[in-house]
């Protein structure tokens, strides 16, 4: 039988092979997305060791739950970042300590070193997508960025954001709503 060249397969095909317990497929998926998963976890928990554990947990969960993945509901990258975000926020909640207080921010918009992910085309496409989203977030007013960051990176509800910032609940709701609407418009138009 001809060996499968996993690097030529798309993400959904890799997940199907992972569901069949093929470790080479998991290895390829890890190579494609470890950077994205780890970066998100690190940005939320702010601790290298904890972020590495979360990254391990995310890919272990993919290994165990690949059979439940539904391609029509979310892209593989979305599935991975969604697990990573929830795991990271869960770690924060279990610690019940927020050492950084409310200081959490969005990534810098300035160009950064881009790690190689998969083939050069994928790396370039990911880099372009990153810059698009960062540029869109950069266009939000500072007060909208602040409430959105607390909701997204810390998993705060409206009420928790309101308490953390000492702002009226209605103001927080409006700012989150306006921020998401503006991002939707900016990211859809391009």
């Amino acid at each position: 039988m001809t060996p499968v060249n996993h690097s030529t397969l798309d993400d959904a095909a890799l997940i199907r092979l992972i569901a069949q317990k093929q470790p080479d497929a998991l290895s390829e998926l890890y190579d494609r997305y470890y950077g994205l998963v780890f970066s998100l976890a690190l940005h939320i928990v702010r601790e290298q060791a904890a972020a590495e554990e979360i990254t391990l947990d995310v890919f272990t969960k993919v290994w165990e739950k690949a059979v439940t993945y539904q391609a029509e509901q979310a892209k593989v990258s979305t599935w991975l970042t969604s697990i990573a975000r929830y795991q990271s926020i869960d770690v924060l909640r279990r610690q019940r300590v927020r050492p950084e207080g409310n200081s959490i921010s969005w990534g810098e918009v300035s160009p950064q070193a881009i790690p190689q992910v998969g083939n050069p085309e994928e790396t370039t496409e990911l880099a372009i997508r990153r810059e698009r989203v960062r540029a869109a977030v950069a266009q939000l007013p500072a007060e909208q960025k602040e409430v959105l960051a607390l909701a997204y990176f810390k998993g705060y509800t409206h009420r928790q954001v309101s308490e953390a910032l000492g702002q009226p609940l209605g103001t927080v709701k409006t700012r989150i709503q306006l921020a998401m609407k503006k991002l939707r418009r900016l990211l859809t138009d391009e």
Partner: protein, 239 residues
């Protein structure tokens, strides 16, 4: 009972999981029966999904991958199931010839039974066709290239809602007007303003079922609307 507009206003926080439990449950229940809300939800989910890309890139320890592969090692399948399957097949293969002509008759009966039951199931599903709402996408013309919208029409065509976004703000004496187009006939669907960011959502009023109209467009009209379009379309549903 909340209106679709109230639910749509909560959707940005819903995708962020920033609602209180009570609000979250209310939105989840409402979403199940509101196609317009589901369409809106998908657009916010697409935005939400991209937020992970904003964080600065970081790299874990190179040994992390080895730890992952070591962690899954105990769960790798052994060759045991394959051997089991081979012996099961062998047993069956040796058993079937002994059934002889009986096996042939049983197979034939089974095949006929499967064909008949499939036909019956197919008939049942055909009769049970679920009512489906119709969704019409509106795209911005040269006058408003950043605008877009959607019209959701009920299965019977009697009711419809319009959602637009990205339309340019208007002067105080102007409003947008939706036109329902059929042959040379243009009926007014609704006259509406937009928010600062060009958003509006509301009910369409139609003299006849909306499903009778193959085309829709939106133009800028004097405040209160016109009896027929006076401005070029800013949104249309294509051909």
């Amino acid at each position: 009972m909340p209106s679709p507009e109230q639910i749509i206003e909560l959707l940005p926080a819903y995708v962020l999981d920033a609602l209180d439990e009570e609000e979250k449950q209310m939105v989840a229940e409402y979403l199940a029966a509101c196609q317009l809300c589901q369409a809106e939800l998908r657009t916010y989910q697409a935005t939400f999904e991209q937020l992970a890309l904003t964080v600065p890139e970081a790299t874990p320890s190179p040994a992390l991958k080895d730890r992952l592969m070591a962690r899954i090692q105990p769960t790798l399948p052994t060759t045991q199931p394959i051997q089991t399957r081979a012996s099961w097949r062998q047993s069956l293969a040796s058993f079937l010839p002994r059934l002889g002509p009986v096996w042939g008759i049983v197979s034939l009966v089974l095949i006929v039974f499967l064909i008949v039951s499939n036909l019956l199931l197919w008939q049942q599903f055909s009769q049970r066709a679920e009512p489906v709402m119709q969704v019409v996408n509106l795209v911005g013309t040269e006058q408003a290239p950043n605008a877009h919208g959607v019209i959701v029409i009920t299965d019977d065509g009697q009711r419809g809602r319009l959602v637009v976004e990205g339309l340019p703000p208007l002067g105080p004496q102007q409003q947008y007007q939706l036109w329902l187009v059929k042959d040379d006939q243009r009926d007014s669907g609704v006259v509406f303003p937009v928010t600062e960011d060009g958003f509006w959502s509301g009910t369409i009023e139609s003299p006849e079922p909306l499903t009778n109209y193959p085309h829709f467009d939106v133009s800028v009209e004097p405040e209160g609307g016109s009896t027929s379009p006076t401005g070029a379309p800013v949104l249309n549903s294509g051909s």
